[in-house]
Amino acid sequence: MIKKVYLDYNATTPLGQSIVQAWADGLNFWGNPSSIHWASRPVRTLLRQTRQDLADLFGASSTEFIFTGGATEANNTVFNSLNELKRKNHPYFKNRNQILVSNTEHPSVIQSASHLQAMGWKVDWIKINQDGSIDLAEVQEQLSEQTALVSLHIANNETGVVYPIAELSKMVKGVGALFHTDAVQALGKMDIHLPTWGVDLATFSAHKFYSLKGLGVLYVKKQTPFEPLMLGGSQERKRRGGTENTFAVWSFSLMLKKLLDDQQNSNSPRPPFEHLKNLRDLLEQQIEKRISGVRWTGTAMPRLPNTSHMMISGIDGESLLMSLDLEGFAVSTGAACSSGNPEPSPVLINMGFSKQQAQQSLRVSLGYPTTKSDIYSFVDSLEKIVERLRKYQLNTIEREVNAI
């Protein structure tokens, strides 16, 4: 049996050890938090405490967090809210009909924006350059008094590039627009301070942070006009109908506690982030040393400490991904795709890379359980596979040349 090494933490994460060890405790939180009787009390306390932890961690207030069924739902909620407010003639949106979204967002943001475009909104795209940079002067030109919402993820899941959200926020506030960030990739990898970011809305996901799937968090800053997506009961202060996923909240709360402890008891840079960065640097040094023809993405920009993105010349990315899987390494060539069909990543295409470059791309994303030995065995296999694939690539080129 081959050893299995997971290096795709930006797609999802395994459950944290504290959850695995104590999972039976979580089963006590089965009561309906909206009930009046005794069964609801411990669950309500759990939700309240978790919201407070989020507030303490992110420098916000506990009432500003809404639990959703996932980050996709949270992102959908942001765009749906906008449309509903406009439809209901909310004065804020009276003369605002433009949405500005980056073209490397998660599909749940891109699709939501396109949906609104089809409903009559004007959607403009923030261009992300090949090196991961954003031309802020260009964004300034795109902004106007008509801008209703700007949505820019804090960090890209494929390249790991962290965007200058605080700078952008000042520009967005300058025209009085709302500012949303999909911060799914940030949690557990960098400090998050929402007032510094200056956003009105932010999206988080539990399963990207060692917790159960089926739980997202939407931050809605006080005073931000808002309409719910899920209509139903009066849960989440009438901002999201539907009984909360209490078991997932329990798992999330354990992970948040650790993060909070860390934030309160250590200096920046935090040890877990340093752990990720050290391993990521080791990975990149080893690859650089042993494999030629590697082009790195985003390395001149601020990056998440756990993400490495590269393009490897002379290979077929499809075969690379499969070969690594067959050797037990879980990595990715782009966003996890539900069809399992390797189309070139739209993120890279939108950044201006060619289809061929996109197909030669590889994303390695590390997590807390990653070890040095994982990195070494990964680079061993990568070196071997790249050599093999390049040999066949060369054979094919020779054959094609001979056929002329």
Binding site: E318, M322, S323, D325, L326, S339, N341, P342
Partner: protein
């Protein structure tokens, strides 16, 4: 049990390749499943339970089988190769008045070329497909391809372009079985596809039929140029006009739109003048044909008498072959009905596939 080697198994989601995968796994091979995505499914009409070999339902079926028998499974994006090597030539062939055979091109350029490369890249020793065919040693010692033990299902007709050099690496796991044995095995393996309907016809064309497919692929102005006259053989008198030569195939008698006192058949399609020639059935018979792009799996020479198939459903006929430069002449003992340009002419000695070529 030590592994018998690593195999890349081409899986379509049908019962044959699914059973083949399960069989290989049970025999001790280290199996990796792969489905070639060759076509944008959204353009196919998918009828529940009647998937063709290109629908997304079929990919899901293949994946379900792979998950059940616990093997790695990947979808390979082959849309651009399929477009270039199969679809475009298919459409062009109809516009020239021929009747194409895309399954052979798919085998030539995708299954036994692209997948062979994938096999090597994935460090596999073998490539397996669910074809009804058998790899056997021949008297000379070289490996050859022999017809399947199920005469009705035999698919060797589609395999004549295989490079003999790859035969040691090819496995046809179900070639020695009858179709009902394959279905029984599928049931024994607990495969959900055990009673799935066989795919028929050309996988990417779907229920719309090839005529509509071609018309959707070709700009109207080019299609309009393929309109022309229907003429009677041998008098040459004009019986009517037609909407495009791609709508006809040799031997066709229905749907000619003619009011004539006797039953007429398409006996020749002139792709240059866009004339469809019709005539009595007797004019459909010819005793020879010419073959181009002649491929040999096993050595053949001028003067050999072989069994020859001129279409998939053809029972085969005895003929003598003779090389004439680049092309080969095939002289039948008995005249054959509706010899159709664009189809393959495939040669057998007893049950062994010798090679083949394209009917000019």
């Amino acid at each position: 049990m030590p592994s018998k080697g690593r195999v890349l198994m081409a899986m379509s989601g049908g019962v044959d390749s699914s059973t083949a995968a399960a069989l290989l796994k049970s025999q001790g091979y280290d199996v990796i499943g792969a489905t070639m995505q060759v076509w944008d499914y959204s353009q196919c009409e998918i009828v529940e339970g009647e998937g063709t070999c290109c629908s997304s339902i079929d990919v899901e079926d293949a994946r379900a089988v792979a998950d059940l028998i616990d093997i790695p499974f990947y979808v390979l994006n082959c849309e651009s190769q399929f477009r270039e090597k199969v679809i475009d030539p298919f459409v062009q062939s109809y516009l020239q008045g021929h009747t194409p055979l895309p399954c052979v091109d798919c085998n030539t350029y995708l299954k036994f070329d692209h997948l062979i490369r994938k096999m090597a890249e994935l460090d596999c020793q073998f490539l397996a497909t669910g074809h009804y065919a058998q790899v056997v040693p021949t008297p000379s010692g070289a490996l050859g391809i022999q017809t399947s033990s199920d005469r009705w299902k035999d698919q060797t007709y589609f395999l004549f372009t295989i490079d003999p050099a790859i035969l040691p690496r090819l496995i046809f796991p179900i070639g020695h079985l009858q179709k009902d044995e394959v279905r029984n095995l599928a049931r024994q393996f607990g495969l959900s596809v055990a009673s799935k309907k066989d795919s028929t016809g050309i996988c990417f064309v779907g229920q719309q039929g090839y005529q509509k497919f071609v018309e959707a692929e070709v700009p109207t102005n080019i299609l309009n140029q393929k309109r022309g006259d229907i003429k009677l053989f041998p008098t040459g008198s004009k019986l009517g006009t037609h909407e495009g030569i791609h709508r006809f195939t040799y031997g066709q008698s229905r749907g000619l739109g003619l009011d004539h006192h006797e039953k007429l058949f398409v006996i020749k399609i002139d792709g240059e003048k866009n004339v469809v020639w019709v005539g009595e059935e007797k004019y459909l018979y010819r005793d020879s044909l010419m073959v181009k792009n002649f491929k040999q799996l096993l050595p053949m020479k001028s003067g050999d008498t072989l069994n020859v198939k001129i279409r998939y459903a053809h029972v085969g006929a005895e003929a003598r072959i003779e090389q004439m430069g680049e092309t080969w002449k095939v002289q039948f003992k008995e005249p054959q009905r509706a010899i159709t340009p664009g189809q393959a002419c495939v040669f057998y000695q007893d049950e062994v596939l010798m090679g083949g070529g394209w009917i000019v």
